[in-house]
């Protein structure tokens, strides 16, 4: 059984008209995985099958039409009794999609800039067809709920992100009596320390800070005649939060390393799997290939095993995944250089994160390429090219939870 315990309130949701069991309040993507349903949609151009990958609203693979609203991140949407889910971009169904033929016809890729360009009639027919096939979700049938007017608030110092580094900074600030707020998009703090791939040696979890505002999602940094402000979405209301100094501690996005068919449903970011296990207590498959970065893979494999799963191909390099509507096997390269095809129900891809530099960069920090990823340029105390923008944790590059804690603390002290 993919669901590891019976806790929580049982409810029923609907996917394309069919009833599925779920637990109230869990991400609805999680409910479907627990029900053995990794196929969520078809992709935009080649109509390839899609299923959740990152569980961090940092990819588009879990999008569905939810209660009539298109393109909803189901990895961030709490399951409710009677919720109606629809798979998008699939005709007549996601399982048997006619337009998946596009993927076979254009197996070597399709350059739509040049395809049939200037061929009389064919070009016009293609334009009509392309238009019909374009887009993902269908527009809502009715206006959504009315929103309350946006609030205006002010803060001297705002820490964005209640993960390890944000909490460590907050602790240091509290000790020094510096007034601040911590904005955390989740309902819990601790980030990867709480639900990420376990670390090799025990790490002391930072205390939850009393300054954390949970469920506060930062949608943007803007400025006007009064100064800089964050646009924050909380409790279905927008807050214009004017801020003097900003500490960006939003961590990293899970990357998708390039290998053949890396987009098949059933392939997850390593940290998505640890989150499914540790927070939601759902095992996404019995045999899980834990590929990628050997250190993280070994630790995740231990976690999978402790939850009753069977880790395979641990720490190998993924070459190609196989499967029709979901992954059923993966070809990997072992450290010895041999290739091997391994049967599996799911794949966890371990890779160090790509710093989520967008907010810091929008605030004026410099971003540089280190050979594999973009990192925010900052000194040891988190100072960036902009005097009002500081960064901590994974913003300046991959690091362990312990290092993240240390970085956060140092920046907190400096602030």
């Amino acid at each position: 059984m993919p669901r590891l315990d019976a806790e929580g309130t049982d409810i029923s949701i609907e996917l394309d008209g069919q009833a599925y069991p779920a637990k109230a309040g869990e991400p609805v993507a999680c409910s479907l995985i627990a029900a053995g349903e990794p196929l969520f949609a078809r992709s935009v151009k080649y109509h390839r099958p899609r299923g959740p990958y990152c569980f961090a609203a940092a990819c588009s693979s879990c999008l569905m039409r939810v209660d009539g609203v298109p393109n909803v991140f189901t990895c961030r949407t709490a399951a409710k009794q009677g919720m109606r889910l629809e798979r998008q971009n699939a005709f007549p169904s996601a399982r048997l999609d006619m337009f998946a033929a596009t993927d076979w016809v254009f197996m070597k890729g399709m350059n739509h800039h040049e395809l049939l360009a200037g061929v009389p009639v064919a070009q016009d027919v293609m334009a009509v067809v392309a238009r019909k096939l374009a887009g993902l979700g269908k527009i809502p049938d009715a206006p959504g709920p009315a929103r309350e007017p946006a609030l205006v608030q002010h803060a001297e110092l705002v820490v964005v992100g209640g993960g390890v580094s944000g909490l460590a900074a907050s602790q240091a600030l509290l000790e020094r009596g510096v007034d601040h707020l911590v904005l955390e998009r989740e309902a819990f703090s601790g980030g990867r320390a709480a639900y990420g791939v376990p670390e090799s040696h025990a790490v002391e979890l930072p205390l939850p800070s009393p300054r954390v505002r949970y469920g506060h999602n930062v949608m943007g940094l803007f400025e006007d005649g009064r100064g800089r402000f964050l646009a924050v979405l909380a409790n279905e209301r927008l807050i214009q939060l004017y801020v003097k100094r900003l500490l960006v501690a939003v961590g990293s996005h899970p990357p998708l390393p390039a290998f053949a068919n890396n987009d098949l449903p059933g392939i997850y970011a390593g940290r998505a799997v640890s989150r499914l296990l540790r927070r939601h207590r759902v095992l996404p498959g019995k045999r899980i290939a834990v590929v990628g970065e050997p250190g993280e893979a070994a630790r995740l494999a231990g976690l999978v095993e402790s939850f009753g799963g069977e880790p395979v191909a641990v720490g190998t390099e993924p070459v190609a995944a196989h499967g029709l509507n979901a992954v059923s096997s993966i070809e990997v390269k072992r450290r010895s250089g041999e290739h091997e095809k391994v049967a599996c129900d799911a794949v966890a891809v371990c890779a160090s994160g790509s710093p989520a530099f967008e907010l810091a960069r929008q605030g004026g920090a410099r971003v540089v390429f280190d050979g594999t990823r973009f990192i925010v340029e900052a000194d040891a105390e988190g100072r960036t090219a902009h005097p009002g923008v500081f960064v901590a944790g994974e913003q300046v590059g991959p690091c362990s939870v312990a290092e993240s804690h240390e970085r956060g603390r140092r920046v907190g002290v400096a602030l």
């Binding site: 935009v44 390839r48 990958y53 990152c54 609203a57 990819c59 609203v69 393109n71 070597k108 890729g109 739509h112 800039h113 040049e114 360009a117 200037g118 009389p120 070009q123 334009a127 392309a130 238009r131 019909k132 374009a134 887009g135 993902l136 269908k138 527009i139 809502p140 049938d141 009715a142 206006p143 709920p145 929103r147 946006a150 949608m219 943007g220 940094l221 803007f222 006007d224 005649g225 800089r228 646009a231 209301r237 927008l238 990357p255 998708l256 390039a258 890396n262 987009d263 790509s354 530099f357 907010l359 960069r361 929008q362 971003v367 390429f369 280190d370 050979g371 594999t372 973009f374 902009h386």
Partner: protein, 493 residues
């Protein structure tokens, strides 16, 4: 796959690099990676790594594309919930002053520019490229184009792609009409699709005076062979189901207007030019002019000097400071205009809809996004390319007033571009009075994209044959000193 939002594979990236798109902004535009629902969160680093390897770029030359607000897709209803103070000047913008890199561009090539060329065109936006293309068709290929950023960096890469014949003067109607004709044949000529979709332009008028303007314009259009129809509120709703028509008195529609995909136009021209040996020097700045006997002798750049017979200034809103380097004063002023794109939706919107009173416009792109903008009368002039939340608020309020069902549709990305505004809303064309071999080709007030193919065709003919063309005398820079203005009032956005 490297980008699973837009189905972009590693091979697609490699192909783009092989075609010469070796900076990340260009790879993004050519392949579409990073333009989907995640806005590059998943793929940005992977593509950068591929680029560093395939294009052998040094790490310090691999720059990320500009991350645009919002950070996450956010419903129109939330942006619309922000109160807007109408008469407060619009200040600030994000990303902080990094939209345009000042000084020497890090991606500036190490090799010098060619020492001489018959024609130097400053600006490889749609105007410069279209002109070079038309010169090439007339056999003039000793041409160098100078572009300070990547291809599509300027307003030509930032506009909404609207093309219309519904204008307020006979000249503009004729030019736009010819442009649309040329756009239809573009793919045949260059082998690149520009996805012209003639869904029409639906203009809405709220106020009495604006309604009268629409009536007058429709009459003018009909006289010049453009089949603009005035529509009742019901007629407009038939075209766009769900349109509220709140506060609207009158609508006008021409079915031959439409939208195109702007970037492909630049790629098509550029590819055709490169095939014939025309040089397009990107990441190259003009630093001055060498003049003697009332003529431009050389164009000076941060990659060396180019001796030339003719120089053309086609740098859009960036033209005045360049003209100043030659001692020429242009009256153009840059005005920021903001624009945004929604998440991709299945096709539901045929025409481009514009409320002429407020400048609100929106259309659905070939990829399904709702692309739209709205001018702000409180926007002070100046070269500011950041984005504001005020724009999102005003645009969302305007859009939801007309299409309330979109309230839970999400904004994916916002950006801005400069309108190149002249005192009479008409372009500046022809010889510079004090420097006859410096030709002007700017001042199209945010609507140059749709005019470029036709204007460039006329300009190349005028340059090559020497036959007089009233376009280059009527719209000459000397008209401002002479007080001979050429007013156009069908400006939107």
């Amino acid at each position: 796959m490297v980008c699973s939002c837009e189905d972009v594979s590693a091979d697609d990236v490699t192909e783009a690099i092989a075609k010469g798109y070796t900076d990340i902004e260009s790879v993004k535009r050519y392949t579409g990676f990073g333009t989907g629902m995640c806005q590059g969160k998943q793929c940005h680093a992977t593509v950068a790594t591929l680029l560093a390897r395939e294009a052998k770029s040094r790490p310090e030359h691999v720059l990320p594309f500009t991350p645009r607000p919002p950070l996450n897709p956010t419903e129109l209803s939330y942006w619309a919930s922000v109160p807007v103070e109408p008469n407060v000047p619009v200040l600030g913008g994000v990303p902080a002053a990094l939209g345009v890199t000042p000084g020497v561009h890090p991606l500036k090539p190490d090799v010098p520019v060619p020492a001489r060329a018959q024609v130097v065109i400053i600006g490889a936006g749609i105007m410069g490229l279209a002109l070079a293309y038309n010169l090439m068709r007339r056999g003039v290929t000793d041409v160098v184009l100078l572009e300070k950023g990547y291809l599509c960096h300027g307003a030509s890469g930032r506009n909404g792609g609207g093309v219309r014949m519904q204008w307020g003067t006979a000249t503009n109607i004729a030019l736009a009409r010819r442009s649309i004709e040329l756009m239809k044949g573009f793919a045949r000529e260059t082998g690149i699709n520009v996805w012209l979709r003639q869904g029409g332009y639906l203009f809405l008028a709220k106020g009495h005076e604006v309604a009268q303007k629409l009536e007058r314009a429709a009459e003018l259009h009909n006289r010049h062979g453009v089949n603009t129809r005035l529509l009742s509120l019901e007629g407009a709703r038939d075209l766009v189901p769900g349109l509220s028509m709140k506060g609207v008195q009158l609508a006008a529609f021409n079915e031959e207007d439409g939208v195109i995909f702007p970037w492909a136009f630049l790629w098509g021209y550029a590819a055709a030019l490169k095939k014939k040996g025309v040089r397009i020097e990107t990441f190259t700045r003009v630093t001055g002019f060498e003049q003697s006997e009332g003529r431009v002798k050389k164009v000076l750049t941060d990659r060396g000097e180019i001796a030339c017979e003719v120089a053309v200034l086609a740098a859009g809103a960036w033209s005045p400071p360049i003209a100043a380097l030659a001692g020429v004063s242009l009256p153009n002023e840059p005005h920021r205009h903001e624009i945004c794109s929604s998440e991709p939706l299945k096709p539901f919107l045929g025409p481009l809809v514009s409320v002429l009173d407020s400048g609100l416009y929106f259309s659905q792109s070939m990829r399904g996004e709702i692309v739209g903008g709205m001018g702000d009368p409180s926007e002070p002039p100046g070269m500011e390319l950041g984005s504001t939340m005020r724009f999102l608020a005003r645009y969302s309020q305007g859009l939801l007033e007309q299409l309330p069902n979109l309230s839970q549709v999400k904004i994916l990305r916002q950006w801005s571009g400069p309108y190149d505004v002249t005192p009479d809303n008409s372009p500046i064309l022809g010889r510079t009075p004090s420097l006859p071999n410096l030709l002007q080709m700017s001042g199209f007030v945010g609507h140059g994209f749709m005019m470029a193919p036709a204007v460039a065709e006329r300009m190349a003919e005028w340059m090559c044959t020497g036959q007089p063309d009233e376009l280059f005398t009527r719209f000459n820079l000397d008209r401002f000193a002479a007080g001979r203005l050429e007013r156009e009032d069908m400006i939107i956005g």
